[in-house]
Amino acid sequence: MEIDPFIFRLSIFILSIFVGYYVVWSVTPSLHTPLMSVTNAISSVIIVGAIIAALAGSSEKIFETSNIFGFLAIVLAAVNIFGGFLVTQRMLQMYKKKKK
């Protein structure tokens, strides 16, 4: 009865697609720009892969080619993480409901 974990991942993948589909429909159009910016920021979870790539292999030779690519990816993703969330934050400031 052992099921290949791939099947599970596939299920998760597909369900996530549905969630993504629905989540967006319920976003008010005026928030589309922040939405785009926040999804952009989120998509930099790729940093998880980058960290694994950077630290892969023995801890002596830390700058093998593959690690270098990992480090580069970390920098890129990090720019995106910080930049993305902060910019979103700035944008959302504008949408603050005024006090009455």
Binding site: P5, R9, F13, S16, I17, G20, V24, V27, T28, P29, L31, H32, T33, P34, L35, M36, S37, V38, T39, N40, A41, I42, S43, S44, V45, I46, I47, V48, G49, I51, I52, A53, A54, A56, G57, S59, I62, S66, N67, G70, F71, A73, I74, V75, A77, A78, N80, I81, F82, G83, G84, L86, V87, Q89, R90, L92, M94, Y95, K96, K97
Partner: protein, 464 residues
């Protein structure tokens, strides 16, 4: 950290990302949503550290690079003017794409570190996943760069089309598939690099035929691509967080571009497949020198006005033509319920008959004490958040104040441009009775709402 525990935490981080997007559904919860996103990201990063468990020198470098990247990002985020948002997002996308490519390359170069087999003997599934991830990442990267250049104005915003464009794209796409197939058999380095290179090319070719006006859609679509790339890598790395987030971003981006197309009344496929839409478009734009205008939809207008503390309505002949007075009255009622202060500014010659606007407003039962003549209200524009100009044109035209050559020079005009934002409801950029162009349409604080006045106002009521 055990694999189970880290899987659990990745799941949590995925859920936090879902909640982040969910938060965006309304302005009230949106900032909270952003915090969820940040939390999810933090958990993902920390868990990765813990599960790799390698706290040697490498770890320090990772931290260093993280900080470098983070500082750059933060710097950009604080410095960028709000008006440059779209290109900023495009730029950021390119980074994500490139990062995905790098991770894929790294995995290809050292598969054993990821448990994918050995060099020259990588698991079939992983090979497919990783090459797909790299290809999509590369497309995202080069496409975003083009979008960035177009938006920044470094590259011309007009669509670049040439004959056979679609055939070339098709051919390149098929080529990638063939190469992936061949890669699976040969496991050759060169082929992997070719895939990456060709994908870069595809990215460029896909975006250049798309015009500047459609860029927001493109950005959202690229966003979607970057999600799929992340998901591909996620499968390679067997990482739930990457899969969930990738799928989430992938589908939400695609849907968002679809919604945006619908909102702009454009065909989704025409936009995504670039050049196909270009022919119709160019005929439209030829006739007149094109100054950029910002155009919005009912939701934007509703949002702006709902959050304003005072709104001034400026009706003109177009309101009469569209018989929009009842809808207008309803809109004002809805705004007042939201606590917005609303008044009407009547220009002495608005419409085509003395008192034209008064007749119509009275018909819609607008209370007289909300209706002001030009002299009474003209100073209030400076303190008002939104001027809602509905079917008026000449009576707002500032040229009457500045250009003695203009046929309307000397006529007093309503100073709508002094309010924080101006919404112009009219069907086109065409001129009014006096037959002269109105400079206000092209101002930064103007949002054009192209539509019949009644229809637009009704839609605003709906979205209020």
């Amino acid at each position: 950290m055990t694999a189970n525990l880290s899987a659990l935490f990745y799941l949590i981080s995925g859920i936090l990302f879902i909640l982040a997007l969910r938060g965006l559904s309304s302005p009230e919860t949106s900032r909270q949503g952003n915090y969820f996103g940040i939390a999810g990201m933090a958990i993902a990063i920390i868990v990765t550290f813990l599960s790799v468990g390698n706290f040697g020198e490498g770890f320090i470098y990772v931290i260093v690079f993280l900080i470098i990247g983070g500082s750059i990002g933060a710097f950009i985020a604080f410095r960028i003017p709000m008006t440059a948002m779209p290109e900023l997002v495009a730029g950021f996308h390119s980074l994500v794409g490139l990062a995905a490519v790098f991770v894929a390359i790294s995995a290809f170069l050292k598969p054993e570190a990821f448990g994918l087999g050995n060099i020259g003997n990588i698991k079939l599934a992983s090979l497919i996943e990783m090459s797909l991830g790299a290809a999509i990442g590369a497309i995202t990267f080069s496409g975003s760069i083009i979008a960035f250049l177009k938006l920044r104005g470094i590259m011309s915003g007009s669509p670049i089309t040439f004959k056979g464009q679609h055939i070339i794209n098709l051919f390149l796409g098929l080529m990638i598939i063939g190469l992936i197939f061949y890669l699976c058999i040969s496991q050759s380095n060169n082929i992997f690099w070719s895939i990456v290179m060709i994908s870069f090319l595809i990215g460029i070719l896909l975006i250049i035929p798309i015009g500047g006006a459609d860029m927001p859609v493109v950005i959202s679509m690229l966003n979607s691509y970057s999600g799929w790339a992340a998901a591909g890598i996620g499968f390679t790395l067997e990482n739930t967080a990457l899969i969930i987030t990738g799928a989430l971003v992938g589908s939400s981006g695609a849907i968002l571009s679809y919604i945006m197309c619908k909102g702009m009344n454009r065909s989704f496929f025409n936009v995504i497949l670039g050049g196909w839409g270009a022919t119709d478009q160019s005929s439209n734009t030829k006739s007149k020198e094109q100054k950029p205008v910002k155009s919005g939809n009912a939701d934007d207008a509703a949002f702006l006005m709902k959050n304003a503390s005072s709104v001034i309505i400026v009706p003109g002949y177009g309101m009469a033509v569209a018989q929009a007075q009842h809808a207008l009255r309803e809109m004002v009622d809805a705004l007042k319920k939201n606590g917005v202060k609303v008044s009407y500014a009547i220009h002495p010659v608005a419409g085509r008959m003395p008192g034209h606007m008064n007749v119509l407003l009275a018909e819609a039962n607008v209370p007289y004490d909300e209706v002001f003549e030009l002299e009474e209200i003209n100073n209030d524009f400076a303190n008002c958040d939104v001027a809602y100009v509905i079917g008026a044109n000449d009576v707002t035209n500032p040229v009457a104040k500045s250009d003695p050559q203009s046929p309307i020079y000397g006529m007093p005009v309503l100073d709508v441009e002094k309010s924080k934002s101006v919404l112009f409801v009219k069907r086109s950029l065409s001129s009014g009775y006096a037959g002269i162009d109105n400079d206000l349409f092209y101002r930064d604080n103007t949002l054009m709402l192209f539509s019949d006045a009644k229809k637009m106002t009704e839609e605003i009521v709906k979205s209020l």
